[in-house]
Amino acid sequence: MDAHLKECPGCVEALNGVRRMRGRLGRLEQVRPSPDFTFAVRGKLLMEAARSRRGLTARITTWLFPTVPRTMLAGAFAVVVVVGLALIVNGPNRPLSTPKSHTQAVRESPPSQVHEIPSHYVLERIPPSSRRGMAISSRTYKIRGDSLSVPHSGRAANVQYVRF
């Protein structure tokens, strides 16, 4: 290329022109943004940050349940909260819908001679034909040893024994 340039004034002129152009472009005035540019950008950034924080929950919900209306989701959320609270109040080992077997209930009763046992465990133990006329007046019955006496209404003196 150098050899060619020595013999070609046209190319030398073109090359010099390109070099001058390059130098001139480098000396163009540096144009600056207006003084309120930074302020404007800051405002937009803060809005964007706030939007992304707000939108996170909504995005997760939309991603999980894209077609379910928001009212239904809110209702489901309320149910979950209520059930959760009930579980906390009742204790983690006592689910609401699955009653324990009576034996388990007795085993877990305080180790004393007289225990209390929930009435539905008592009823499970009594055949339906024998339940007729039976007054279940309280939520619990006293148990002594492995048997319990249930008051039988209609026949005041009669006591039916239930063995556990």
Partner: protein, 202 residues
């Protein structure tokens, strides 16, 4: 020289604040804005030739960079990434203008209220002046196709390396070099056609 100047102005590097930026820290991102706003603005202004549009584009560039901060990969400088976003936005703006101009000219023809565009290429006052002002060069830059305009601005005005430009425009370095050279030749030719001599400067 430009890079050295930037370094003396801004002692901390982008990587010092990037961890905070990734976590969504607006204040940390503002440091990035302060560091790059002038160069980005100058580049975009030279690209689109309009201050207001350039400000909008640079603001949008920062906003998009913040929004998509997790997409940033450390394979390139953060500034390169910003130039990529800004360059794409500026190019889209040019495309939009071109469409709009086409549509508006059609509308004007139909409604017979055509805009009279003055032909300034032979104005006696501009012909008499042979030295080049910044405005003349700016006009010549704006006459270049977007691909040429982008690379010549990044190379000769912003002083980026060919490697950086190659990343920004997603083209091989050889292609970038050839585009830069063609852009310089086109600029030179354009200015010569208008009776300007690159050697004579104001």
């Amino acid at each position: 020289m430009l890079m050295a100047h930037s370094k003396t102005q801004l002692p901390t590097s982008d990587s010092d604040v990037l961890a905070d930026v990734m976590a969504g820290d607006v204040e940390a991102f503002e440091k990035i804005v302060d560091r790059h706003k002038n160069r980005l603005f100058n580049f975009v202004y030279r690209f689109v030739g309009d201050r207001e549009t350039a400000e909008d584009i640079v603001q949008e560039t920062f906003l998009r960079a913040f929004r998509r901060r997790k997409e940033y990969r450390a394979i390139a400088n953060f500034s390169t990434w910003l130039f990529t976003i800004a360059g794409n936005l500026a190019k889209s703006e040019l495309r939009r203008r071109k469409r709009w101009r086409f549509l508006s000219l059609n509308w004007d023809e139909e409604s017979e209220t055509g805009i009279e565009v003055p032909d300034e290429s032979h104005r006696p006052d501009t012909m008499a002046e042979t030295a080049m002002t910044d405005e003349m060069i700016q006009e010549a830059i704006e006459s270049l196709p977007a691909n040429y305009r982008k690379v010549i601005l990044l190379r000769d005005v912003e002083g980026l390396s060919y490697q950086e430009i190659a990343k920004i425009v997603s083209r091989p370095v050889g292609t970038v070099k050839s585009r830069v050279n063609r852009a310089r030749l086109r600029l030179q030719r354009r200015l010569k056609m208008e009776g300007r001599d690159v050697g004579l400067e104001v």
